[in-house]
């Protein structure tokens, strides 16, 4: 093998601070060669980001780094600040998770793309605009010359991330570190961005470290995989082998806990417990408390396993012990009357401009949505960001006033209810917010946040007080000890669990779950999904499950509605919708889902949609999907297709030329 671009040996990172020192990375080693993609996968807090920051010398002053890192010939740990600065941008470029915040909002995008090169003296400022435009063109941003002077907020999410990729690649670095680069993006946009990243990587022969928690993405793009757990790499190997025959119990369990659109199981296998607290690791194997094999074996408790491709005393035994999940049962037929009936819901937001704040246009966020939810069932609402899923959910919840349409809950029209009755109803309908960061009050402890709805409704003592709240913490997989901690002390995943615990507190009848597991790790996601299913069965809860992750929806939903630009374009029972999508949009959406199966890679099944979702202020004429549709005819540009029952399948679809064959 050629000299690796980056070579890491025995890397250890310890954070020192007010409390006890915390070792976040505990002796990891790996190499990445030019042209190779190393996927690092692991749960939140396993040390992936800390590793990537250590590689680039970007850790804060409270980090103590030991071991060896050689990046493009530079000894990163020993190097001085100026050497590291020069290394960044020149030898290594970085792509971060959230394109909404990685760019500075007050500077034009073009300037931010080339600024690094100018700082390195490899680009003269007067050449910068042309260079920025060229770089944007390379990542498929349309009209790059005009785009460079725009600000980040004028870019869509996918375009921003492509701009960040352009920025990372500006200095032709030999290594790209992409930390969750598509986690914040929609599937069709993720497919675009991954395609761009892969193409640019092939063109530049850069080495890539792709950090993600999404095993589907790993299966799709990585050559080799390193699985991290509690600050260690527990298994490494070529991607095909890891997926086919995982040897570490953790890897195996992780793969099993994944909801898949190409399988159908009643329950996800979960990994019991939760990722360990790094400050309180026991001796021996740190996975032991969750390991089905290690429980009865003394050596696992006493000796930490050596890493030799796999860090386990009993490699290879893992797969056999895992139970095969049972296939799911047919959903029971809906009985009785629906819990929630929404008819022709419209939500429009005025756009005001000019001196007199006159209304100059309307954003049709939701334009005529009808849906019903029966007690005890789950309706999955899927679609890309901006398609109106969240607005629909919020309008149902009463957080936004609908422009028109009717919402009936338990037979009562909500619109006309007086305040008190509305408040009473609120208890039966709860909402889990999409954004785990902004939806939690930063100055309240987690315990207070979860108890808040109980206190607001004066039910704290009645429901069992602190003990009940502690029970909610157990349920969502948070240690009770964290009740007195503040939101900022939690990882993104843990924060969303607090939000779910808060919504569960009042034991409602209907939960509107807005991307509830999007921020969770696979193993925790499986726990939460199972938990939601348990609660549903025990309490007869109904869910509206809003998500962009079609695999999760496939697992949890009984019926699925697909939204595009404020409309439901297809609705059916789960099995039919996934097996025989009728709408071209549904079809492309399903094809964009990365399958956790390297063997399925490049099978030509993927339809990469062009462009972004149009603005709901100016929806295209006729079928709103026609500018991106691969089946569009002249009719589609003029006539709005009716949302009607299909001739043979139990589906409703809004398309002039629905797909016929199964995919």
């Amino acid at each position: 093998m050629a000299v690796p671009v980056v070579s890491v040996r025995g890397l250890e990172v310890t954070f020192v601070g007010a409390g006890r020192p915390l070792t976040a990375v505990r002796g990891i080693s790996f190499d990445v060669a030019a042209g190779e993609v190393l996927g690092i996968v692991g749960e939140s807090g396993s040390g992936k980001s800390v590793t990537s920051l250590a590689l680039t010398g970007l850790l804060g002053p409270n980090a103590r780094v030991r071991g060896q890192i050689s990046l493009a010939g530079i000894d990163v740990i020993a190097a001085d600040a100026e050497t590291l600065r020069l290394m960044r941008g020149r030898d290594v470029g970085m792509v971060f998770q959230d394109p909404a915040t990685t760019l500075n909002p007050v500077f034009p995008v073009g300037r931010q793309i080339t600024e690094g090169q100018i700082a390195h003296g490899t680009l003269r400022p007067e050449r910068a605009p042309a260079r920025a435009a060229a770089l944007l063109r390379e990542v498929d941003v349309p009209d790059p010359a005009a785009r460079i002077s725009q600000f980040p907020h004028q870019f869509s999410g996918g375009m921003r991330q492509r701009a960040v990729i352009a920025m990372a690649m500006a200095g032709h670095p030999r290594l790209i570190i992409a930390d969750e680069p598509t986690t914040a993006l929609d599937v069709t946009v993720q497919a675009q961005v991954l395609a761009v990243l892969a193409r640019r990587q092939r063109e530049t022969k850069a080495a890539v470290i792709l950090i993600t928690h999404d095993l589907g993405v790993i299966a799709e793009v990585a050559d080799r995989v390193a699985v991290m757990y509690a600050g260690r790499i527990v298994e490494t190997g070529p991607v095909a082998e890891i997926f086919r025959a995982p040897r570490h119990p953790y890897t195996a369990a992780l793969l099993r806990s994944l909801p898949r659109i190409d399988a159908d199981e009643a329950r996800l296998s979960t990994i019991p417990g939760q990722p360990p607290h790094l400050g309180r690791l026991a001796g021996g194997c740190s996975f032991r408390p969750r390991c089905p094999l290690g429980q009865a074996r003394d050596i696992c408790a006493s000796d930490p396993p050596e890493h030799d491709g796999v860090a386990c005393h009993f490699p290879g035994e893992a797969l056999a012990t895992l139970p095969r999940p049972a296939p799911s049962k047919k959903p029971e037929a809906q009985t009785g009357s629906p819990l929630l009936e929404v008819a022709d819901l419209r939500v429009e937001f005025p756009i005001r401009t000019g001196l007199l704040r006159r209304q100059s246009g309307t954003v049709r966020a939701v334009s005529g949505v009808s849906l019903s939810v029966w007690p005890g069932e789950t309706l999955g609402l899927v679609g890309e960001s901006g398609c109106g899923k969240t607005t629909t959910g919020r309008a149902i919840m009463g957080l936004i006033r609908p422009t028109s349409g009717s919402i009936r809950f338990a037979g009562q029209e909500i619109g006309g209810l007086p305040r008190g009755a509305m408040r009473r109803l609120r208890r039966d309908m709860q909402y889990v917010f999409q954004d785990p960061y902004s939806s939690l009050n930063p100055i309240r402890t987690a315990g207070e946040i979860v108890a808040e709805p109980l206190r607001i409704h004066g039910l704290h003592a009645e429901m069992g007080g602190d003990a009940y709240v502690a029970g909610l913490f157990d349920r969502v997989g948070l240690p009770r000890a964290t009740m007195s901690r503040f939101p900022r002390e939690f990882s993104g995943g843990q924060r969303q669990r607090i939000g779910i615990a808060r919504a569960l507190a009042l034991q409602p009848k209907l939960l509107i779950l807005d991307e509830p597991v999007a921020a969770l790790d696979v193993s925790i996601q499986a726990q939460i999904v199972n938990l939601l299913k348990d609660l549903q069965r025990e309490l007869g809860l109904a869910y509206i499950f809003i998500a962009h992750d079609l695999a999760v929806v496939h697992h949890i939903a009984d019926r699925v509605a697909v939204m595009y630009l404020g409309r439901i374009v297809e609705e059916s029972d789960k099995a039919t919708l996934y097996a025989r999508p009728l709408h071209p949009y549904t079809r492309s959406l399903l094809s964009a889902v990365p399958l956790p199966d390297p063997a399925a890679r490049g099978g030509g099944r993927r339809i990469i949609l062009e462009g972004d979702i149009p603005s709901p202020a100016r929806p295209p004429s006729g079928c709103a999907f026609h500018p991106r549709c691969f089946r569009a005819s002249p009719l589609c540009a003029t006539d709005v297709p009716a949302f009607a029952a299909h001739a043979t399948l139990p589906s409703l679809v809004a398309c002039h030329h629905p797909m016929e064959a199964a995919p």
Binding site: L86, G89, F107, E115, F151, H153, V164, A168
Partner: protein, 315 residues
């Protein structure tokens, strides 16, 4: 942008109208009368009645207000009861003095506050940071009048470098006396305000330092001084200009005590004198002007804000 400024200016008029009505009502709600101060203790009731009628103070309040308003709309704010001079002239002579002091003090505040904040934010919780935070606390904790008197004792009484009472000289025509006279009051106010500025900016900078775009900027290989000086500073400036604008506006009305200590002839002292003798037209005029300056500064802040933050849409 122009339309935006015009629209904002149009909002002035109702605000000023309401304010004038409010001030008028306030003045009359408080007992006392300007006559006593005007005629002295030995005046006969006849003298008092005559003056009352001459000043129109015998009319119903609303009539008085209406008369004042009509005149004000023609640019006539009436005459001072005390000095008989037009209110507008009296104010016009004081406004440059007050603005000059306000701006000078703000400048001192910025010159001290910004470097202190940046130095603190570069190495948070370091020894330097803690020392500078102590300094800011001191600047805020020491009462202005006390610091003013201390400075007078040191620079005027002891060293004889600077005058103890400050007169107003326009900076443009008489720079040297203007500076020597401005130095002590500007320093007194400026040091105080630097405490506010540095604390606020330090917090804003530290808040921004954790933002994702800072990590991005570093990952591109920018120099740390560019990361802080360009990326972070520009964002931290957003809330900061509001504070600077507010404090500047505050000066216009709030320099009262400092102006009194230094017997500096600004708008604040004019207002105090006017209140002392219940010179209604003068009080009314002073407050209206202070208010107008206040609103103008606010508008400037908003315009600056829109300039710094591209996300603000001023249509």
């Amino acid at each position: 942008m122009i339309a935006y400024i015009l629209r904002r200016l149009a909002q002035f008029i109702p605000v000023l109208l309401l304010a004038s009505l409010g001030i008028w009502a306030m003045i009359y709600a408080v007992p006392g009368s300007p006559i006593g101060a005007l005629v002295g203790e030995n005046a006969t009731p006849e003298q008092i009645a005559a003056i009352t009628i001459r000043l129109g103070l015998d009319q119903p309040i609303l009539v008085q207000y209406w008369r004042w308003l009509l005149a004000a709309l023609h640019g006539d704010l009436g005459h001072s009861i005390q000095s008989r001079e037009p209110v507008l002239d009296l104010i016009a002579t004081r406004i440059p003095a007050t603005l000059q002091l306000g701006l000078a003090a703000t400048l001192v505040g910025l010159l001290v506050g910004i470097p202190v904040a940046v130095a603190s934010a570069l190495k948070p919780n370091s020894l330097l940071d803690r020392a500078l935070s102590g300094w800011s606390a001191l600047a805020l904790g020491v009462p202005t009048f006390w610091l003013g008197i201390l400075l007078i004792l040191l620079f005027a009484v002891h060293l004889h470098w600077l005058p103890s009472a400050s007169a107003y000289f326009p900076l443009i025509s008489d720079p040297i006396p203007a500076l020597t006279n401005l130095a002590l009051p500007a320093l007194t106010l400026g040091l105080y305000i630097s405490g506010i500025f540095s604390r606020f900016l330090r917090a804003a900078l530290l808040g921004e330092l954790h933002a994702d775009y800072v990590r991005t900027a570093r990952s591109k290989g920018l120099r740390e001084r560019d990361v802080i000086g360009r990326h972070v500073m520009r964002n931290a400036m957003l809330p900061f200009v509001t504070i600077v604008g507010l404090s500047l506006a505050n000066f216009i009305g709030g320099t009262v005590i400092t102006e009194a200590v230094f017997t500096y002839p600004g708008l604040g002292r004019l207002l105090i004198q006017a209140i002392g003798v219940r010179d209604y037209p003068l009080i009314q005029g002073c407050i209206l002007f202070i208010l107008a300056i206040y609103i103008t500064i606010n508008l400037l802040v908003d315009v600056l804000y829109a300039y710094i933050d591209p996300r603000i849409d001023y249509h």
